[in-house]
């Protein structure tokens, strides 16, 4: 990918990230932290790509670590966020239960 194009994508992603997060209320800051933590678990895809290309033992071991750690990031981040968000309820919903 051409460097300038990458820079454009980075710049736009940064603007998007800042604008999206600025509207998150303080009440959701912990889930936001763990939710964004989950999102960068997408790194597992990168891990899979390098493990898929790995030939030598070292490459395979390191690639395996990359997938393992990435998957842990994604799954753990998701479950923790889910659990927290599950607890947020409004009075109306509370009454229904």
């Amino acid at each position: 990918m051409e460097g300038w194009i990458a820079l454009y994508i980075f710049m736009l992603a940064a603007f998007t990230g800042i604008e999206v997060i600025r509207r998150v209320p303080a009440i959701l800051h912990t889930p936001l932290m763990s939710g964004s933590n989950f999102i960068h678990g997408i790194v597992v895809v990168g891990g899979m790509v390098v493990l898929g290309m790995a030939d030598t033992t070292t490459e395979i071991v390191v690639g395996f670590i990359a997938v393992f750690l990435g998957a842990g990031n994604a799954v753990g981040g998701y479950v923790v966020t889910e659990r927290m968000l599950d607890m947020f309820k409004s009075s109306d919903k509370n009454k229904k239960e």
Binding site: I21, R23, P25, S36, F38, R83
Partner: protein, 465 residues
């Protein structure tokens, strides 16, 4: 014409990127947050599945599945059983894993360059090396943060010249990075490079006090995001670039918001000792005497009040008192008392910490108010009940220009008609300074562990029939 792999794979990644942003957007309200996260989860699943047919992936499918399944199982199980109060360290752990994954990806890529199977233009090599450094620091730093918060590592190492050592290690990492850039990545060089970067992460984190950790975790979260973004560039997967940088930018903003709400610049958190405050905290001398109250009287005061505002703080988290507090609230509400909760942005040890705990206890979020929304209401409030909060209700922030927390916005509980403060004894809060609130005429101290005191209040209110 069947869409081929060159269409399916990028299309799936593109969809995932859109859903990630959409998921984060959902966080702007508790109503949409959950469905947003579920969509992001679907996106993740889609991206992982489609990667099995990624054109660059040529083998090791078995290992891939083993790694995916085993890591998922362990992470799932641990994330399910962990207590809500342990959330900060879990976030640190999972974040560290992400950073480590980014670093490992860089490792394989650089090894491929060495073996000649892959070539990189200078820019790509540079980005790969930077991603490696950032990912490694986020990895080892987050693990130290995890160990500290989990109580596996209680000591806070501090010694003279520490900053200098850190600087030297970091500079050495950069030098090795430059060397790799110029001479190419040989295995020995790479080993030293990664070892130094990991060491840098450890050294920076070790001296930081446990209570400052949430800021550091948020910072490492941003760093991992950036590292992932850089890996996306190297691997030419724009979805990674976008997800990574969105998180990087968001995390940076969140870190700044936290540091600002704590009234400490970020550099202070990272590079200067914690607890220095108590030495030079003299300022406005506390005048007046501390008056205490017992549970029964406090219960009567609240039971016959029109309007009560509850201000929880770190002590409530320590005592796990949120369930009792909600029981008390329901009792009061059934007697016709109007009860609200007031949350300071940095109450507790994580942004939004109190909200999560109260939500866990079942407190509906429309009873919970932010500082700006509720501060005007204290003057018309009969009882402000402070539960294990200290710094966030310290009027020194308004009155004492020499106080380290001067200028920090606080909850104005001292303006309520009566203020009852639950704490165990003379312990100070996170900032280690004296609290002027305790000396006010309308303040009464209710000593004891928050959970036990809450139980006493419940019994007291019940006794009134």
């Amino acid at each position: 014409m069947m869409p081929g792999v060159d269409f399916i794979v990028p299309a799936a990644y593109f969809t995932a990127a859109v859903l990630f942003i959409y998921g984060l957007k959902g966080m702007s309200s508790p109503v949409t947050a959950r469905s947003g996260m579920i969509w992001a989860g679907v996106a993740m699943l889609l991206a992982v599945l489609v990667t099995f047919i990624h054109p660059k992936v040529e083998g090791n499918y078995g290992l891939m599945i083993i790694a995916l399944v085993s890591a998922s199982a362990v992470a799932w199980w641990w994330a399910r059983i962990v207590a809500m109060t342990d959330m900060p360290q879990m976030i640190a752990l999972y974040n560290g894993m992400g950073g480590g994954s980014a670093a490992a990806i860089a490792g394989v890529e650089l090894l491929k360059v060495h073996s000649g199977q892959a070539s990189m233009v200078p820019t790509t090599l540079l980005v790969a090396a930077f991603g490696a450094i950032i990912g490694s620091i986020a990895f080892s730093g987050s693990l130290i943060a995890f160990a500290k918060l989990q109580g596996w590592m209680r000591k806070t190492w501090r010694f003279p010249g520490q900053q200098l050592l850190n600087l030297v290690v970091f500079a050495a990492t950069l030098v090795l990075g430059a060397w790799i850039f110029i001479d190419g990545p040989t295995p020995t060089l790479l080993l030293a490079f990664f070892a130094l970067a990991l060491l840098a992460g450890i050294l920076v984190t070790v001296p930081i006090g446990g209570a400052d950790m949430p800021v550091v975790i948020s910072l490492y979260n941003a760093l991992t995001g950036i590292a992932v973004g850089f890996k996306g560039y190297v691997l030419e997967i724009p979805a990674l670039m976008i997800a990574g940088i969105v998180v990087g930018a968001a995390g940076t903003l969140l870190t700044q918001l936290m540091a600002k709400a704590m009234n400490r610049p970020l550099t202070n958190v990272l590079f200067s000792g914690f607890g220095k405050a108590d030495e030079d905290a003299a300022g406005v001398a506390a005048s007046g005497e501390i008056k205490s109250i017992d549970g029964t009287d406090a219960a009567i005061q609240m039971a016959y009040a029109d309007k009560v505002i509850i201000v929880p703080g770190y002590g409530m988290a320590v005592a796990q008192a949120q369930h009792k507090i909600w029981e008390l609230t329901e009792l009061l509400t059934s007697r016709g008392v109007k009860v609200s909760f007031a949350i300071h942005p940095v109450a507790g040890r994580m942004p939004g910490h109190m909200n999560v705990l109260l939500a866990e206890a079942g407190v509906p979020y429309d009873m919970i108010f932010d500082l700006e929304d509720i501060n005007a209401q204290f003057p018309t409030t009969d009882v402000a009940l402070v539960i294990g909060a200290n710094d966030v209700v310290n009027p020194a922030a308004r009155k004492d220009t020499s106080s380290p927390i001067y200028g920090m916005p606080i909850l104005d509980v001292d303006k309520a008609k009566n203020c009852i403060v639950i704490k165990r004894g003379q312990g100070t809060g996170f900032s280690g300074i004296e609290n002027l609130l305790f000396f006010e005429d309308n303040t009464r101290m209710l000593y004891g562990d928050a959970q036990k005191v809450a139980q006493a209040l419940i019994s007291g209110v019940k006794a009134l029939g």
